[in-house]
Symmetry: C2
Subunit: 415 residues, 2 copies
């Protein structure tokens, strides 16, 4: 039996216990996990050092090494993340609907765990801790398959967490880490219907597309964000610039940052120079369409391929549009249904934009950077769903649950 | 461009209009559709005759021909089904959550259509009408791919419905029927991410497994039901028999009917003969395990393969179990997480069963046959979900929707 199958079987078996634990039992385990991370932080940092060393030898970029690196501050943040999950309300067991039928049947719709969640993700070791905490709090077992670049770190972290779980009511088997760095271990997880209930991929475009295209296990797609901000004719210019700069440059590497700015022609003709200057002032490279470049010749030419690109960097494409309709068409054509914003003082245009744009989060006069579990008040998030099924947008604890109907009868049969 | 792609593109385009229609506009279209079915019933019956004729030539079984056959009564029922959908509340636009953040952002979670729903199904032409009605009411466009055995019927029905839609605000393109009977048209739908938002397969095991195993578009799995009834030691015998007979024999072909009866040994020793007699009295063939056959030698031997079989027929497997634990283990091993029942007077055992059995619907003292949209009071249903993601159990209108977050700001940026 392969590692993936044997560990998934253990997880499935543990999932049965998980669904019957009390909130207090799960919270106690989370606190023990947090404590253990701090107690064992030197061992974790040491293991992480091996990953960093190997990364350097393989010529990994400085920014990737930075995401991979652990230190006392980052481990403390991971432990604090677990403590925050303790504070979140436990959704399991909640009665979502309750109705009695004319024949006397009492039907109750109850929140239950999903069962076994498969997480497939890349470098950052904090995802290991976050995912473990969120899945266990919601009564799920979890099979983690992290990237090979963080393998030493992940292995040590899970060893530490297992140590904590053995002192709790949560079975240690509910937390499984796949050690095989071979691509085939991912392929195997994708087809493990019956043992894994749901897959959640987190990482770059090719990782997510591989899961979406090849999994027979149900998937919650997360990820790609080609987000737009549309500055409408009636926008307050200073607000538009403030929102645009924040959406682009506050943290360009994340999925809710802006990639394309759409500017109404009336604004563009008067103010595109000022807008461009503001972005250039925070070191953003601008790539404009023909009309934008006529107004601001210092912009690079935006190629056709720019409009669909998630730069994840200090680069912004700019297009001048005639009106709201042209902005809506552009977003429909190139957007990824993640987060989209209109800056306008025209209530009718705002309403049309919020109604017609098909995206997880649509904003009027606020930065797309707010699409985030913490910013929405959900606490830690397992990711941002970009699909329409099950969950859409930032996923809090309820996104990690299913439901079941409990029906109480007194001998009813169907006529 | 293939038929599947060109029709899916038309559906996607129509979906944009669909999401903005009022409830009144959608209801008017549904009533026009119902009227048109009645006005054109002779043409539909004529087209159906061609399907029946071809079915006979191909040697189709009498029961399948019966499911395929349309007459005035059945067409009236289809029209009535559409009128019932008119009466259901429209979930689109509902505000599901509403919260304001400390920074002043106002966040609203709103129900929106899924977009384009792909339905892949088999013989019964009433599914064509049901699916069209349910999808349009929820503001979705739908691409229907019915079985080749009902092709003439489905083509005429959709032609009639299109005629009705051209007199309504609902774009006729929102309803698409794939005419290609080639298997490749199904394969193509499975991979149409970006044009089809969700696939819902309805039909036999192999149809559903093909969709689940090969689709990259998100799927809502429906279908297979190997449902159990457990007669516990403290059960009222008459109630247990009444529920069992109903669960098995009221309509054996459907997914919520019982396939295996589990009997506590204390009951079995005293009453298995009476139980067997009751089932044999309604022409149910019994297949027993060794202990059951010792008590009632007239039973056929249940082979290992019987325990996982959805007979869909007047056949029942019977197993004598030592206690609740053995019943739970059997259900966990062979059940399909559809509908499971315990008949007991022991409140503690009932609670354990409802808590520990992992299924869409768990019953105490009532027939599993109640797992149904109408019986739950949801009105028409698009199917019964047997997966844990998005929807589980009978799917009413909300299962055909997604959500989006509308965020109202006044210039907020993220710190």
């Amino acid at each position: 039996m392969s590692e993936v199958i044997s560990k998934s079987k253990l997880a499935k078996q543990a999932a049965r216990t998980m669904g019957n634990l009390t909130t207090a039992q799960k919270n106690e385990a989370l606190l023990l996990m947090a404590d253990a991370l701090l107690t064992e932080q030197q061992a974790i940092i040491e293991a992480n050092g091996k990953d960093l060393q190997r990364g350097k030898e393989l010529g990994t970029s400085a920014s990737l090494l930075d995401r991979l690196a652990l230190n006392e501050t980052r481990i403390a943040a991971m432990a604090e993340g677990l403590r925050q999950i303790v504070e979140l309300p436990d959704p399991i067991g909640d009665t979502l609907e309750s109705f009695d039928r004319p024949n006397g049947l009492q039907i109750r719709k109850i929140r239950v765990p999903l069962g076994v969640i498969g997480m497939i993700y890349e470098a950052r070791p904090n995802v290991t801790v976050d995912a473990a905490g969120l899945c266990l709090k919601t009564g799920n077992a979890v099979v983690l398959r992290g990237g090979s670049s963080a393998l030493f770190s992940n292995e040590k972290i899970v060893e530490v967490l297992h140590g904590a779980l053995t002192r709790s009511a949560v079975p240690a088997d509910a937390l499984q880490l796949i050690l095989s760095a071979d691509r085939s271990s991912v392929d195997e997880m994708l087809k493990l219907n019956g043992l894994i209930d749901v897959l959640i991929p987190r990482g770059g475009h090719s990782l997510i597309q591989n899961v979406v295209n090849n999994a027979s296990v149900p998937v919650i797609e997360t990820g790609a964000g080609v987000c737009h901000t549309f500055i409408d004719q009636s926008a307050q210019l200073d607000m538009a610039i403030r929102i645009g700069i924040n959406a682009k440059a506050q943290r360009p590497s994340v999925c809710n940052s802006m990639e394309t700015l759409l500017v109404h022609e009336a604004i563009a003709e008067q103010h595109l120079a000022a807008i461009a200057e503001a972005f250039q002032g925070v070191n953003v490279e601008l790539r404009g369409d023909e009309r934008a470049r006529t107004l601001v010749p210092s912009m690079v030419v935006a190629e056709q391929s720019d409009w669909g690109t998630e730069y994840g960097d200090y680069i912004l494409s700019i297009k001048v549009v005639q009106n709201l309709d042209e902005a809506l068409t552009h977003i429909r054509t190139y957007g990824t249904m993640h987060s989209e914003c209109i800056v306008t003082e025209d209530a009718g245009n705002a309403e049309r934009f919020l109604q017609e744009v098909d995206a997880a989060a649509v904003y009027h006069n606020a930065s797309t950077r707010f699409t985030d579990g913490f910013e929405f008040g959900f606490g830690a998030e397992i990711g941002i769903s970009t699909q329409k099924l099950h969950a859409r947008g930032p996923m809090g604890l309820p996104a990690l649950t299913s439901t079941k109907y409990r029906i109480y009868g007194s001998g009813q049969i169907r006529e």
